[in-house]
Amino acid sequence: MNYKLIVDIARSLLLARWRQSLVAAIGVTFSITMFIALLGFMNGLNDLLDGLILNRTPHVRLFNEIKPNPKQPVDQSADFKNSHNFIRSVKSSGVRVEISNSAAIMQALKTDPRVLGLAPKITAPVLYNSGTIDITGAVSGIDVIAESNLFFFSDYVTTGEPLDLKNISNSIVLGKGVAEKLLVDIGDVVQVTTSKGDRLPLKVVGFFESGIRDFDKVQSFASMATTQKLLRQSNSYVTDIQIKLKNLDQAPVVAKEYAQLFQTDAEDIQTANSQFETGSFVRTLISYVVGITLLIVAGFGIYNILNMMIYEKMDTIAILKATGFSGGDVRKIFLGIALTIGFLGGLLGLVFGFLLSLLIDQIPFNTAALPTIKTYPVNYNPVFYIIGIVFALITTYLAGFFPARKASAVDPVIIIRGK
């Protein structure tokens, strides 16, 4: 097949009607521009909102859940082996929230090639005392450096120096909400009481803003050593081991494996935050629906213009057929016209979509909840651009298909006779 000739003829027909062709192409350009900008923006938002939780959530978390012993004495008695046992008011007992042998576990984890990094943690429910008021809350004992590397801890310390937590003993970073309730400032001292009644004065070195207000109203951070001291525990005391994997999708499998291996509870990120996937999914869906709707509208534009062109070019089609071009050749010519409009319009749409994304990226977006964000978030994933151009080509192909088929079926005898 002589594609050069087909392309040559298609181009000539296109140029002969360049004004209409341009309008059709602009329709495609507009759709693709909106599609790219919308997907980029929506996904930027997705990343941001996911980041709010997912950035700070370990992929796998090892801990000991407080729960009743699954092996109750009655189950072990030979007398009742074949009976169904009803036991009411079983109490949890003898379970330690401490992860035993945590140092050995961490050593083992560090050698696992799937693990990107890990950070130990101690969670301790506490009361903050300030004057006459007591506020319930929680202090997390963290390894500041590991926590910052893996979970961006320092990004969220909006006031103060996060490393002071490590360098200054008996220091604390308060959640912004906690600080507001306690009316304390950097350098002040807060009294913290554990559930066992032990009290320790801690110096405030910073404020923490996660973007989730309820969280900031209860949560504070101290170093591992300070927290161990607060709880009167040894320096091997760890309640959680937070693990970040190289591949997030492996989390459920790895969690199961570790639960077996280390005899602790293990929770994966997918189970912990399933609702966030739903939100992301809906936003992405909306972008696609809007983009495709715009493309369909543009497709109708192309359809109309091709139909008009075929109507005007009946003589041309008849003469091509009379001089030896087959119906298939004629169909290819008109499909070529449609695809050219789609490709050029789509390509321009990608460029404009990118420019519009850059523009959105410049719009200031300041919110107290998101301290690290200064402008609207935009995602520049090249996959959107590939999908955009593929959609443009598919739509124009479909829009060109029926007009092209009509053109290929033109009977030259009727046209030539009709003169």
Partner: protein
């Protein structure tokens, strides 16, 4: 110019029709062609005449393979047309038939030269440069070489028809068919076109089958086929 290598046997049959019947079913079934049978030999200049409405154009569309809805046999270059696909027929039109219409039918999007080249480019027998060279040769033969770069819609009627003849010649067809090619031209241009046909026939042994109701035109051809009411009444 060398239009084609002439076979030694001059009586070779180029086109043959056998018992061709054609009906139009709209609005009632009417038979417009009745048992048309004749053949055209290599090098002949044949004219088909008859009153308007007697079926000349209808016959020519069938002979040119554009109309496939008929009874009877059509052989071009000894090859039976029945049962051939649309694509195969397009190929035969491209390669073996040159068509000249009453209303010029050039493509206004293209230059004169490109109009002449298009069927040659489609055939792909020669590379593009060679097709261009051959197109120029034919334009020169027809005395319109200086029009090559013009757009088709900038030409006069007589010029357009000469371009159409050049286009019909580009692939060295075994036969040129014309449906009243001078019907839309004044006397002077009609004479020019006729002289071209005559020249093609005499100098290059080009076979021609031309429908006309111009008696003086027909009178100057080798052979006249006269039709009436869808039948050949006189040869």
């Amino acid at each position: 110019m060398t239009i084609r290598n002439q076979p030694l046997i001059m009586t070779q049959t180029v086109l043959q029709s056998r018992g061709i019947n054609k009906y139009f079913k709209d609005p009632v079934r009417v038979q417009v062609l009745k048992n048309i049978g004749f053949s055209v030999n290599q090098g002949e200049f044949v004219s088909v005449t008859g009153k308007s409405g007697c079926g000349k154009s209808t016959l020519l569309y069938i002979l040119s393979t554009m109309d496939t809805d008929y009874e009877g046999d059509l052989l071009i270059d000894g090859d039976l047309m029945r049962g051939k696909s649309e694509g195969q027929l397009a190929r035969i039109r491209n390669e073996k038939i040159g068509f000249v219409f009453q209303f010029h039918y050039l493509l206004n999007e293209f230059t004169v030269l490109k109009n002449v080249m298009l069927p040659g480019l489609k055939l792909q027998k020669y590379p593009e440069a060679e097709v261009e060279h051959r197109a120029m040769e034919r334009l020169k033969t027809l005395g319109i070489a200086e029009l090559a770069a013009k757009k088709a819609n900038q030409l006069s009627g007589g010029e357009k028809q000469r371009v159409a003849i050049a286009r019909a010649l580009i692939n060295d067809p075994i036969i040129i068919m014309g449906d009243e090619p001078t019907g839309n031209l004044d006397k002077k241009n009609s004479d020019i076109v006729f002289d071209i046909f005559k020249q093609l026939c005499e100098e290059f042994k080009q076979t021609l089958l031309i429908v006309t109701h111009d008696q003086s035109f027909a009178g100057n051809t080798n052979r006249i086929i006269e039709m009436e009411d869808g039948q050949i009444i006189h040869e």
